[in-house]
Symmetry: C2
Subunit: 549 residues, 2 copies
């Protein structure tokens, strides 16, 4: 049990108020015990083709599981207990009173302890993430391990601050002229109710734990509904959370795992139940829009978006092409922050070595993308594997769409996993008027180089795209301060952050906990942000009682 | 111009974090200049039967005005310039860029200055409030003057704090092992867009300025749409705000007044315009539900509610009856915080002097209500006048509803205004099963004493009423600590604050700025609260940009 959890929360809160670099858990696998990797792999392998029995949940109505490793192209054979929506909600409700009356300090302690427990299983979670999402080992480790824990810690520390922001009790003394009127007043943060967290297939813990820990620290019991194809990583997290609750003498049904199948989904049964007052959702826009439309709920969504790159002028083109190729290829573009459309003026771009024509830019980007994919030390590790067949098919469909193809998508051999489903990034070239190609989300390893009239048009198109289709991020390359200011103003006005002139180790894809707000909540890519104060404050209500002194 | 506006904001913010007594403007009219009252009255009288020409708004399409004094039962004859929704929105949009790029410090300074200007017209605003709402002079002065300014200051200080919470720019340095990755990051609070504030007829400034100043401090230009029958008080406020903007060299269309008529309302034209991104609303539930249902808006509502009193046991009954009578009769029950239903067990209530039967309780409450109304020093001043005919008719309808009447509503003579529309509080007695009488909002001077099986039933009914119909507040009288705890827990669970055992100068109606959250936002009485941090934070979006160092 962590004894200094309060100091850790205060330190984490100060970090996010300062927004400078902070990490509660090291992201480097080598910072962990020497045998941790081997043990994690062993634990993962032992869990295959078994029932997952680590959950403390009674009343199952069967066992389900349909995860497939994108590396092995085989089912994992892991089965999880299934529960009816009614069972889950009734248990969540029965735990709600105890949990809501558990002090903020106690809740915080249990939840920090849960994260410590999770950190002891980072390597196992990494392998579970690899073999459900197709992420590379390093990304799996970082995203589902320390980075996810960091985002949870960020939420816990923000929640702890906001929940303890006002005094619990005061004497309110008002001078009425001839006498003082004295009232005792108390202030209580009352949780909203049962929370539902709906996970996605590509980032099963990173996108789930912020909402989950936000609902829990604010006193709401929570049901975690993972994507049926990406269960194991979050199942391990939930099991550790339940263990932390049990250790603290609290009901384990404060957090429950709700596994379903693609054929018999239970998400709508859970979401539409009136007891469910809070919903966190990561996934496609159609279902996200449905979730947002449910009456009587407070909803936090991260949906689809189309991220733009505005290429105006550069000092040196090669590092830019390399950076773009990496950003687009990292985890085969299956990140919500991956760039999709690169807007390039038809006249090309200025560089220190003179003008680079539009065709030269296309050739440069294509060469960088191909070079990365074909580099035996980089390709397989950067691309990882394709999480599902729909994404793989989309690459084919885009390739055959009739637009000009500058770089074909290739199968990239993975020495360790010969059966891995891989696809390098396809680079398509389109005119700005060919909106049917580029003006919608094409999730996966797909890049469009969009030929525009000029840089003003590039900006106009990028801003309109963010406003209408949503955007989580935007990248701009320019050597002009004036143009940079224009881009910043126009993109910020549609609630899209801009990263300028990233090269080297800086990638637009990476949003760091404690420093980068993830999603702004201002455009159609989502209605909420990791982690501003609303992210916790909207999950409870301040109620003040008054007593005659 | 206030030079120390920052210190005043910081002081006001610290007050609300501490939640102890604080007032930025004294509520006692005697604290102001000796001739202020006379000058205010004169200014009010001069404005009668005139065009209101103090607004700095061009492009009017005519003059409208239909205010009627509930004291004189005569039209005020004041006409205001009318504008089309399109004109108002186009001007708001054209001012949006300048205002959003005005620094937070400058915005804060201008808005504090506006409040100072308003304070110089407190007495005129008081008379304007009297003769539109029917409030007594003292309530008009306090509610529309210092108390409204205090709520605006509360919002400004919260906004100033939240907007300056994060650094504007930082260097983010991440050690990558062999080198440091350094990024410059900036954080900008980006306003949502044009704001609309829809006022009500009974509290034309108190219920309008919180949302108005919240939208403005966060950088959103704002359109104020008052109730057609209560324009003058907020028209003066808007005129002073425009003067403060003009003095600062800023466009006066940052805040505009949108006056319409009951016959040709423009509210929906404004609310449904896609440029309007924020809406604050005070008023009836039907229109409030419509406002909440508008897609793509962030909406803050205060709608109808039914406030309960739970009478269980008391030490001394008389002060309790007196307190209840005053709370119900103050401004003839036309407050969103006025009690409506008093739940009393059929066996009566325990007192230090023995049990008081149900009938004795009814008689005691009725006597107190009548005694107050008939007291020549208290009656007219406490009751004020009835704002509109619908409320007056409701009193008659309830009186004739067939339920048992324990105290009839009386016309109370007002020596100063013989034509005043007055009605003392009617007290009706009903059984808990006669829900058709008491289980809906009866706005105005109407009290139901509801006979319940026992105090457990009283609590169950009060909690269900708050959950289903909404409640802004609840009052409980009990000498039992155990029962008090039950009541607090059950009412708080439906997001309703409870005031316990109020007697003397403590009245459930009064919510003090800086200390009492007004409306919780958790039940159907409204979806937002004056003033938690969400009240400002939901009006802008944090956007972080990153630059290669």
């Amino acid at each position: 049990m962590s004894e200094n959890y309060k100091n850790r929360l205060i330190e984490a809160y100060q970090a996010q108020e300062n927004r400078t670099f902070y990490a509660a858990w090291p992201e480097n696998p080598k910072a962990y015990a020497e045998d941790a990797n081997a043990k994690g792999l062993e634990a993962f392998q032992k869990s295959l083709a078994q029932n997952f029995t680590q959950l403390d949940q009674e009343g199952s109505n069967g066992w389900v599981g349909e995860e497939i490793s994108p590396y092995m192209m085989q089912g994992l054979g892991i089965h999880y207990p299934a529960f009816s929506a009614d069972t889950l909600i009734s248990k969540a409700q029965s735990a709600q009173q105890i949990w809501s009356q558990t002090s903020v300090e106690k809740r915080a302690e249990v939840l920090v302890n849960a994260l410590d427990r999770v950190s002891a299983r980072f390597f196992e979670i990494a392998y579970a993430t690899m073999h459900t999402t197709g992420q590379s080992f390093v990304m799996s480790f970082q995203a589902s391990g320390p980075h996810a824990n960091d985002r949870a810690m960020e939420v816990l520390s923000m929640g702890y601050h906001e929940l303890t922001r006002f005094p619990q009790a005061i004497d309110w003394v008002k001078n009425m002229g001839k006498f003082d009127l004295t009232l005792k007043k108390t202030y209580k943060p009352i949780p909203k109710g049962v929370a539902l967290v709906i996970g996605c297939s590509t980032f099963p813990t990173w996108n789930t734990v912020p909402g989950l820990f936000a609902s829990l620290i604010t006193g709401n019991t929570s049901i975690v509904k993972p994507h049926p194809k990406s269960v194991l990583p979050i199942a391990i997290v939930v099991a550790e959370m339940q263990a932390a609750l049990r250790d603290a003498g609290l009901p384990t049904s404060v957090v429950q795992l709700a596994v379903d199948t693609l054929e018999s989904p239970i998400t709508k049964h859970l979401a539409e139940n009136t007891a469910v007052r809070l919903i966190d959702y990561t996934g496609g826009s159609a279902f996200g829009d449905y979730i947002e439309s449910l009456p009587g709920k407070v909803v936090f969504t991260e949906k689809a978006g189309v991220n733009s790159v505005i290429l105006d002028s550069v000092a040196d083109a090669q590092p830019v092409f390399g950076n773009l190729a990496f950003a687009a290829s990292l985890y085969s573009g299956q990140m919500c922050t991956a760039p999709q459309n690169i807007f390039v003026p038809e006249s090309g771009i200025a560089t220190a070595a003179g003008n680079l024509s539009f065709d030269d830019v296309v050739a440069g980007i294509s060469a960088a993308v191909k070079g990365l994919a074909e580099n035996p030390k980089m390709g397989a590790g950067t691309l990882g594997a394709i999480q599902n067949d729909i994404t793989a098919k989309r690459v084919t469909d885009v390739s055959n769409s009739g637009a000009q193809m500058a770089a074909a998508s290739l199968h990239v051999e993975n020495a360790e996993f010969p059966d891995a489903r891989t696809a390098s990034t396809v680079v398509m070239v389109v005119d700005q008027n060919d909106t049917q190609h580029w003006q919608h989300e094409c999730f996966g390893p797909i890049l469009f180089v969009v030929k525009t009239r000029n840089s003003q048009e590039s900006l106009r198109l990028a801003a309109a795209s963010a406003q209408n289709l949503g955007a989580i991020t935007c990248q701009c390359y320019t050597t002009s301060d004036a143009y940079a200011q224009e881009v910043e103003m126009a993109m910020n006005a549609v609630f899209t952050p801009v990263s300028f002139n990233f090269t080297g180790a800086a990638f637009v894809n990476q949003h760091a906990a404690f420093s980068d707000f993830h999603v702004t909540g201002g455009n159609p890519s989502g209605n909420a942000s990791f982690t501003d104060s609303q992210y916790v404050n909207r999950r409870f209500v301040w109620v003040g009682n008054r007593y005659m002194a």
